[in-house]
């Protein structure tokens, strides 16, 4: 409520729902209000999207100390004053809104298409007039990359098919000699129409699809979806602990892969192989505990779908002890190698002001000195009862991201053990009433803060907005590589390890 008093002008109306502050504002006031919350109250723009059925632009701003603010703004015309000029983090959201929904953020500095390739300008996949099965032919209109001109400037196109086994994306480097002058990341290759497919989808079916938005973050996505459907209705304690265990196991296997990947990318083969062995052991453990190597299907609406009996609990506890023992020598061999440090230190540094302006999240933000973690700042499920540290580094380089991930693995091992200690007999699932209105899922995925905003009407999903942490972090990588040499790009990219599928949807 203090926050309300501090606003530069009063909103049309406000309402407190499930601990969130909902403000309705006129569309020309959206920009000054969001800008005030971000600049004066240190708020973070966490989502921005359009709801066609209600003709509303929704903005989600997380304000530390005050909580979650949802701004709803009904549009009077075809557009509204763009936020991007004052809140740079709004850039991609608004470009997405333009192509997907046909809403015009007025005076947007960069109104190029984002994820739809060679797509007609007047066709918008999220508008109700568009039949979702329409096959739209390519227009043949080439994408305009940002140009760097001058003597000796060379453009290097890379992708979408890469040398390694990674997801598809196009990187356009402008270089002068070795150093990178400019990078433009062009994504959208794995755009599968997820948001449109989820509209009108039955809830159990939607859960299976949501798990597959970004496969290696399947638990986090499923959890965010379940939170949105549950609408703060209580979930049994045992289920909360189990969800927490699965989410932390997901974080562990992801971070182990990243740590090994960074070693691979500097051709440091022994720790890379050791990390991949640890990761494979985790995947096998996942399969033994939940029946799926990537833990899919372990979370259910209203609780958990997989239980851990005594035998499995012992197995997990033993595995965590063993992992802890095997992990430390691995870390020592990476951090104790001067040739590795030489590659990682000062490479791909993202400054704190840049991280804040573009709104980095997760390990990327924490490595740049931004002390943020959804599990601690907006606790959900069992996290309130667990003791854990949020590792923060100041340097913002590859090594800082590596060390943040290393410490997060240690914390996650400890969290799994704590959850096992708390795990007492109890219900696995509770009945949840049919959702209605606005549901929010806010989860700390391995890559950072993950947001699902779901609008329900008569028990049906009418708009589903997914905001993967990678969507926030991709633009920050364009900045982090500047001045670095091209051969360091794979290492920087690996230290970020962003999801293409989660970004493209």
């Amino acid at each position: 409520m203090e926050l309300l008093d501090s606003l530069p002008f009063p909103p049309f109306g406000y309402e407190e729902k499930n601990g969130r502050l909902h403000l309705s504002v006129p569309d020309d006031m959206l920009r000054p209000l969001v800008s005030h919350l971000v600049r004066k109250e240190e708020g973070e723009l966490s989502n921005l999207y359009y709801v066609p059925n209600e003709n509303k632009v929704m903005a989600l701003v997380l304000v530390p100390r005050h909580g979650i603010v949802v701004l709803e703004s009904e549009l009077e015309g075809e557009g509204y004053p763009s936020l991007t000029a004052e809140v740079p983090a709004a850039n991609w959201y608004e470009r997405e809104m333009m192509e997907m929904s046909g809403i015009t953020p007025l005076d947007h500095p960069d109104p190029r298409p984002l994820h739809l390739h060679e797509w007609p300008r007047h066709v918008h996949p999220l508008s109700s007039a568009f039949d979702k099965t329409t096959k739209v032919p390519f227009t043949g209109e080439a994408h305009h990359f940002r140009k760097v001109e001058g003597d000796g400037v060379l453009e290097i196109p890379v992708g979408p098919v890469h040398a390694g086994v990674i997801e598809p994306g196009h990187f356009r480097f402008s270089t002068a000699g070795e150093p990178i002058l400019n990078l433009e990341v062009r994504l959208g290759y794995v755009h599968r129409g997820v948001e449109r497919s989820l509209e009108g989808c039955a809830l159990n079916r939607a859960l299976r699809l949501v798990e597959r938005i970004s496969g290696d973050n399947g638990v986090a996505h499923a959890l965010a979806f379940c939170q949105a459907v549950e609408m703060s209705n209580p979930v049994p304690e045992r289920a909360q602990l189990l969800r927490c265990i699965f989410a932390e196991m997901e974080r562990i296997y992801n971070h182990l892969g990243d740590i090994g990947g960074m070693a691979t990318d500097v051709a440091f083969a022994v720790p890379a192989a050791e990390a991949s062995v640890l990761r494979e052991r985790m995947l096998r453990l996942n399969a033994k505990l939940t029946g799926h190597r990537l833990l899919w299907g372990s979370v259910a609406i209203g609780g958990a779908a997989r239980d851990l009996d005594e035998e499995r609990k012992d197995l997990l506890e033993g595995a965590m002890v063993e992992l802890g023992l095997a992990f430390e020598p691995l870390v020592d061999s990476i951090n104790g190698s001067p040739s590795f440090l030489d590659r990682a230190e000062t490479t791909g540094a993202l400054s704190l002001p840049m991280a804040k302006d573009l709104r980095a999240t997760g390990p990327v933000a924490r490595a740049s000195g931004w002390d943020r973690d959804t599990r601690r700042d907006f606790p959900y499920g069992a996290y309130e009862r667990l003791g854990f540290l949020v590792p923060v580094r100041r340097e913002g380089d590859v090594l800082a991201r590596l060390n943040v991930k290393v410490e997060e693995v240690r914390e996650s091992i400890s969290m799994v053990k704590q959850c096992l200690d708390h795990l007492h007999a109890g219900e696995l699932r509770s009945e949840v009433p049919a959702p209605e209105g606005f549901g929010l899922g806010l989860v700390e995925a391995p890559r950072g803060e993950l947001v699902h905003c779901v609008h329900f009407k008569d028990g049906k999903i009418i708009r589903y907005k997914v905001r993967d942490p990678s969507f926030c972090n991709w633009p920050t990588m364009e900045r982090a590589v500047l001045g670095n040499i091209v051969p360091d790009f794979p290492l920087i990219n690996k230290s970020y390890n962003l999801s293409y599928a989660g970004n493209d949807l």
Binding site: P168, Y189, V190, R192, G193, L209, G215, D216, G218, R293
Partner: protein
């Protein structure tokens, strides 16, 4: 560096697993109905990808199945279980598993001249054509020391020019189709195409929208279908070895 060598000498552990072990382990199972099933049809709407049919007899299309298990609790007679292991096949229709009909065997029908050219080795180019990255996790797992793909002479190569096989994951999105075709056309002949995972076989949960197709077969001639969501590394490895006639 010395410490690493010292540690490796001290541990003296070989983690790489012999081929026989993969052949024995039973994993990546598909659901199947037993004799208690009376074709009531309760499981049909429970399936998120409509993979189950009760026409004639109970059957599941392992090329559509997400292996999620949503059908199991839907059965009032408890007649469903994850009980059959589906191998890779070269004929799409044999992924439809029927009750009381023997499962397809892992026998890939590849042309003899292809096998002759390939010999005992295989170079693979992987293309993600819209996968959720679950399949990429498992392809990367193949290279870890436990599965150690390269000891079999199978290598994941950087360029399609060096590749004998195109391993495709994902339903083939609209935006990835041009790149997929370019990659395929850059490969020397004879070339094989493998569709890995439910999305690549049938489009999976994403297929049939403005943005995604219904699998690789719509775009390219597929030689090998590798079922799973995502397929277990063992399923992939056995498929690749069978393709080379080495099982």
């Amino acid at each position: 560096m010395l410490e690493i060598i010292e540690r490796r000498v001290r541990d003296k552990k070989v983690v790489t697993e012999p081929l026989q072990l993969f052949q024995q382990q039973g994993r990546a199972l598909a659901p199947m109905a037993d004799s208690r099933c009376d074709l009531c049809g309760e499981c049909v709407p429970a399936c998120p990808t409509s993979a189950i049919s009760i026409e004639g007899d109970w059957s599941v299309d392992a090329g559509k199945c997400l292996f999620c298990g949503d059908c199991l609790p839907a059965c009032p007679r408890d007649a469903l279980a994850f009980s059959v292991e589906v191998p890779a096949v070269s004929d799409r229709s044999s992924l439809v598993l029927r009750r009381n009909v023997p499962l397809p065997e892992l026998r890939l029908k590849l042309r003899d001249e292809v096998r002759k050219v390939l010999g005992r080795s295989l170079a693979i180019r992987e293309v993600d054509a819209g996968s959720c990255n679950g399949c990429e996790v498992e392809v990367n797992s193949l290279s870890n020391p436990m599965y150690d793909l390269e000891r079999f002479g199978i290598k994941i190569v950087a360029s399609p020019r060096h590749a004998d096989m195109l391993l495709v994951t994902g339903p083939v999105t609209r935006n990835m189709l041009p790149a997929l075709m370019k990659t395929y056309n850059a490969m020397p002949e004879p070339r094989l195409v493998a569709a890995m995972g439910t999305c690549a076989i049938s489009g999976g949960p994403f297929g049939g929208t403005y943005a995604a197709g219904n699998g690789v077969a719509e775009a390219l001639p597929v030689d090998i279908y590798i079922p799973g969501c995502p397929p277990h590394p063992r399923t992939v490895l056995l498929a690749l070895l069978e393709a080379l006639g080495r099982l």
